[in-house]
Symmetry: C2
Subunit: 199 residues, 2 copies
């Protein structure tokens, strides 16, 4: 413990952890890096986060997820038709990676690919976050039956995570736009089929 922790240090450390994890996952978000990027006094890390890196990264992932939920929700709610919703979502992510100059990926994705077998607690957080995002996406679609809708939402999330990987390597938002076009077509088609032959 120490008392030299100025107000705002805690929040700045969480922000730094988010930025660093989006950059290169767990490996990039070491305590020293978090301290350096946040500008917070080093001693204050263990004051605010007595359990160290696991605690700060878990909290940072929760804060990050809340923002992603709002981001996805807003993009999907901006349109009424299933296909247009999918397009709006992938376009929003395309702009997001462009704005980050292709250096900032999805923190849940980067950490997933850094996972060590001994970080069971963190893995649970990641798995749960992906489930929550899938449920959120599914809530914006009605493709006739709930299993089918959830499975489509899961495909959308898989494509977003994959496009994040490729956008980084290719320095291009094209993987988002391509996936968005195909999945928009699929969404409209499925919704039409569900409307034509409701069960």
């Amino acid at each position: 413990m120490n008392s030299k922790s100025e107000p705002g240090s805690r929040a700045r450390m969480v922000e730094a952890a988010i930025t660093l994890m989006r950059g290169s996952g767990l490996s990039g978000a070491g305590i020293n890096e978090i301290v350096r990027v946040s500008g917070a006094p080093k001693g204050s890390v263990y004051h605010f986060f007595p359990q160290g890196k696991l605690q700060i990264t878990t909290e940072a992932l929760a804060v990050y997820s809340t923002r992603v939920v709002a981001f996805i929700d807003q993009a999907l709610a901006s349109e009424n038709q299933p296909g247009a919703r999918v397009s709006a979502l992938f376009s929003a992510f395309a702009r997001r990676v462009e704005q980050g100059d292709f250096h900032q990926s999805c923190a849940v994705g980067t950490v997933s690919l850094d996972l060590d077998g001994d970080l069971q607690a963190l893995q649970d957080v990641l798995g749960r976050t992906f489930s929550e995002w899938t449920a959120l996406i599914a809530a914006h679609f009605d493709l006739g039956d709930s299993d089918r809708t959830r499975s489509f939402a899961s495909l959308v999330l898989t494509a977003i995570e994959g496009a994040y990987v490729r956008a980084r390597a290719e320095r291009s938002a094209r993987p988002f736009m391509e996936a968005g076009e195909w999945l928009a077509m699929l969404a409209d088609q499925q919704a039409r089929a569900a409307g034509q032959s409701p069960e």
Copy 2:
């Protein structure tokens, strides 16, 4: 330079780099780790790879890519119909992640999410590898026009990379199976449409 490098050390170092990168990208594949996992004498790293980590990871990615190319090719060639080909591909990847107990992801994906701005040479390798894989997948399909076929192949690759991310977090091959089902349906449908109204 030193001469204590036994035969096979070089190949074992490349194998170790592949395994470590599949585990956690560039950050996991430090020279010390490569030496430890390969069992090679430490001095021999710079004997075989004078440019150090960049050289060994670049070569390891090339070897890895050759294997992935063979893997994708074999899976896609095992079936004749477009949808069945897609299913075979995703099933093959699902088995692959299960066999690796969800710890081994795609090395190109993990390294992509670890990329630093200063590793331009490595980024070019990653981008080129994804392009080659896309072209390879595209060569197994004919959806009527080459742009459309390439775009579909790109979607398939995006879904594979995304499923790798999610499989790791969720310890499940389900993201591969779900994406495979949807994209198989899409492939059959597109091939049918192309056959019905050829240009």
